[in-house]
Amino acid sequence: MNRPGLYVHVPFCRTKCPYCDFYSVTSLSLVPAWLDALQREVLIYRDRFGSFDSLYLGGGTPTILGSRELTRLMEVLFQDLSFSRDPEITIEANPDDITKEKTALLRDLGFNRISLGVQSLNEKELQFLQRRHSAKQAEEAIEIIQASGYTNLGIDLMYGLPGQDESVWMATLRRILVYNPAHISCYQMTISKGTPFYRMLKQGRIQATGEERERAFFLLTSAYLEENGYVHYEISNFAREEKTMSRHNIKYWRHVPYLGLGPSAHSFLKGLRWWNLRSVDGYCQALDCGRRPVEDRERLTEEQVWLESLFLGFRTREGVKRKLIEGSPNSGSTLREIRSAGLVTLHGDRIIPTREGFILADSLPLLFSH
C-alpha cells in the first residue's frame, strides 16, 4: 500500500463542461506533441520513484485518445517505468467514448479499473451540465463495460446542482445501484472561480445550493449508500467492499509518494511537492528544450506535513492518530467537545470522523492547530 502511484494527465476534451476546473484543452491537434513530450518527461523520472503499484490515467478525457495513441502511451509508460506485480490500472472514461471495441482495447492494454464519468441519469441535468452523453448512453456504457467482464467499475456522479430536487438525485442514485458498481464517487457540485458557472452565479443566473441543503444532500447520500452496503471511506467516495476502494487515490491522502506526468499534474516525494505547467504548449516547449516542465515546487515543513495529515485524515474513514493532536493546546477539551457533538468517535488510538464529522472536515483541523 505504500508503493508509489503514477498519475498521467491527458489534457484533452472534445468540449469543455461549464462547471469543470480541471486543466484541459479542446485542440486535439496537440495530442502528438503532448505524447512526445510525455515520453521525454518519463525519462526524467525513470529511476526516481521505484516501482509503482497504481497507474491512473485521468484528465481531461483519456478515452478521447485513439487506439494507436493509447497503445503508444502505455508502451511509453511501461517501457521506462517499473511497476509492481499486480498494479491497479485505472482510466477515466466518458460514456460517449465507450464501445465494445474500446473496452476490449482497454482490457488488452492492461486497464483493470474504469472510472466512468456519468454525473447524472437525468436528461435535463445532463444538458444543463453540457455533458456529451445522454442518460441512455451512460447506462449503455455501464452495460458494455460490465458485459466485457470488468468487475472494478467506478461511477462518478455529481449532486447538489443549482435548483436540484432531492428526488431527482435519489432517482439517479437508485438507478445506479441497479448495476451494483464496485465504486461510486459522489461529488457535491462546487462552483469554482474562472468557470462559466461561476460567472453565471455572479450574474444571478444560477443559484448556489446553500449550506443547509448541501448538508441535507450529503447526509442523505451517505446514509442511502451505506444502507445499501457501501463503505463511505472518504468525503466523496464509496466502495462496495474494502478491496474496491481506489488504491491510487488513497495515496494522495496518506502522503504516499506519487508521480504526476503531463500538464498541471502534481507529484509528491519525500516531503517535496511539485507541479507541472498548466499549459500544453508550455509543457511541450519545456520538455523540447530539455527542461523539467515544472511550474513550482514546495518543500513541506514538519508543521505543514502535520497540518496536511490532520485535514486529510479527517476526510477519510481512517481518521487521525490521537497522537497527532496531543501537542496542541486544549486538545483534551476540544476532543471532548467534538465527541459530544457527535462529530468524531474514538477507535483505539485513532479519532474517526462520523458522517456528521465529514461535513465539517475542513474546519476540524483548525480546532487543533496552534
Partner: protein, 654 residues
Amino acid sequence: MRVTPRLITEKQCFQLIRRDPVDLLNQDTTNFGILLTICYVSKIKGIHRQRLNLTDMTQIRNFSIIAHIDHGKSTLADRLIQYTGLVSERDFRNQILDTMDLERERGITIKSQTVTLPYADRSGQEYDLNLIDTPGHVDFSYEVSRSLSSCEGVLLLVDASQGIQAQTLANLYMAMEHDLAIIPVINKIDLPSADVDRVKDEIENELGLDSDQIILCSAKEGTGIEAVFEAIVNRIPPPAGKEDNPLTALIFDAAYDLFRGVIISCRVFDGTLGPGDIIRLMSKGAAYRVEEVGCFCLNKEPRDRLSAGDVGYVIAGIKTVSDTRVGDTITLDGRPAPTALPGFQEAKPVVFSSIYPIASDDYHSLADALEKYKLNDAALTYEKDSSAALGQGFRCGFLGLLHLEIVQQRLEREYDQSFIMTVPSVQYRFTLEDGHCLSVDNPQYYPDPIVIRGSEEPFIQASILIPERYMGAVMKLCLDRRGENSRFTYPSTGRIEIRFDMPLAEVIVDFYDRLKTITQGYGSFDYDFIGYRESDLVKLDILVNGEKVDALSIIVHKDRARDWAVRACDRLKDEIPRHQFKIAIQGAIGGKIISRSTVSPFRKDVTAKCYGGDITRKRKLLEKQKKGKKRMKIVGSVMIPQKAFVAVLKSEDE
C-alpha cells in the same frame, strides 16, 4: 554675564537695524556685527531666525495659557507665535501647537506644548517668552498642573460668550496653588453672542479677580494681542533662581526618540547646564553626559546652555527609559543639589481597564511601548495583570474616558500595538465582615460575597447642557443610568442645564455617545466627583460553554446586571464565529444564570475534492485561517475573536 543664544526673526533684525545704530551699539556691542551678518545671511538663505545673545534673566517670562476646553488657548498661542514672526506665512497652520494627528482630528489639545517666543517690546527691550499651551479638557488636567510648575504666571482665558466654566475654575485654583501671577483674558469678543460685561462680572465676582486687570481680545481676529504681550512682560515676574547655584531642573515632560533616546522637557530653576556636562537624574541616581540642550521654537533649536529660568529640552543619550521619571530633578554630577525639587503628585486615576496583547508573543513589545508611552503621558498609571482567557497584560488607570480613548489610540498609532481592552471600571469600596476596607477596580479581585458587609461606588454630579427640546430624552437617559436628585437651571432662553447625581460607573461606558446621539450633537456634559455612596453591587460573569471568560467579568449594580448581561450575550453571539458545535453564552451572578444566547454550529464545511493539486491549495487556505486563529483567544475549546471583546463595549446603536 549670562550668554544665552536666542532667536530673532528676520523682521526683528530689520526693526533693530532701522533704529539708531549708536543705540544698538550701546545695547550690545558684540551683537552688532553678528546682527548685520545674520540679516545678510538670512536674506540670502531665506533663513528666518538665527541666534542672538540675550543678557539676563529679567528678560525671561514663563507662562501657561489655561482655560476651559475650546475657549481659544491654542488659537491665542497662534497669534502670539505669528506676532513674533516665529513661523512664515507659508508654514503656518491653525492651532499650530496641536501637532499630534489625534489633536488635529479632534480639534482639541491633548498635550501641553512649549514654545519660546522672541519678543521685543515697544522700547526695543527683548524677551524670551516661554509659552506653554495647555489642554482644556478635564481628563488632561495633569498636563496643566505639570506645566504650571514651570511658570511664574498664566493667561486665564475666558470665552466671551460661554463665560466661566468648570475648568476655568479648576485651572484657576491650580494656578493659585502654584502662586502664579494671573492675567484674566476675555477671548472671542468678536462673537455676536459675546457678552463682555456679563463675563467681566463673572470674573470679578466668581473668580475674585480685579476686572480692571482684564484684557479683551479676539484670538481669531488678532485684536488685543499687543495688550496681551504687554501684560505678560509687565505683570508676570521674571523667574527667580541663581545661575551660580547648584543645578536643579524639573522634568515636567519627556518623549522617547528612537535615535536620540529620551528627550527631556525641563524647567531650570537654579544653575546651568550644557553639552558635555554630566547630569544626574536624582530619583534613580543615573548619570549621563549631556549631548544637546535647546529650546522649543516649534522645532527643537539647540542652544549653548540652559540656565536658571529657562524652559527647554535636554538630550543625554538616555536609552534606559526607567531612569527618567517625569517630576524628577536633574542636577549636576560634579556639584549636586542638596535636595530635589518637590516634583508632582501622582495622577489619581478614576477609570480602569486592562489591556492584553492580541498575540501573546507581543507582551514584551507592549510592556516596552507602555514604558515609553508613559514618558510622554505621565497621567497614565499601569501595573501587571493577567487573565486566563487573554494571558499576560496590564491594568491601566486613566483620568477619564477621553484619556482612556487617547491612550488606546496613541498606543495603536504611535507604537503600533494591537491589544484588547476590557470593560472600563471605576474603583469600588467594600467593607468586609471583619471590618477591613477594600478598594477594588478590577473585577478579578471582587471579594467573596459572603464576607462583604457593605459596598460603595463613586458618584458624580453630572451637569448636562442642552436645548430644551431634548429634555425628555435626556431625563430618560439619566434615569436609566441611575441618575437621582435632579435639578434644573435655565442659563439662557431655550437652553436648560440638568444636574443629576449619578454613579460614575454609569457614565464611563457609552454615556457620552448616547447623549450626543439623542441630542443630535447639541448636548454638552461635564462632571464633578461628589464622593462615594452606598450601593448594591454584584459581580457578573460571562460564560462560554460553561467556562468563565474572566476578562469579560464586571462589577455592576444589581439592578443593571441583567441589562448588561443580555447585551453582552447578544454581542458575543454576533461576533463569535460558528464552530463545529453549539456554543452557549451565558451571563451569571454567582451560580445563577441571568441571560443566555447561542451560536449555532456550522452546517457544512467541506470541499468535495482533494487530490494531488488540491492538497497544497487547501493547506494554504488552512494556514491562512490558522493565522487568523492566532489572533483569536481560546476559552475552553471556543475561539473568540478580539472584536468580540470590543463589541461588548460598543454603544447600543453602532
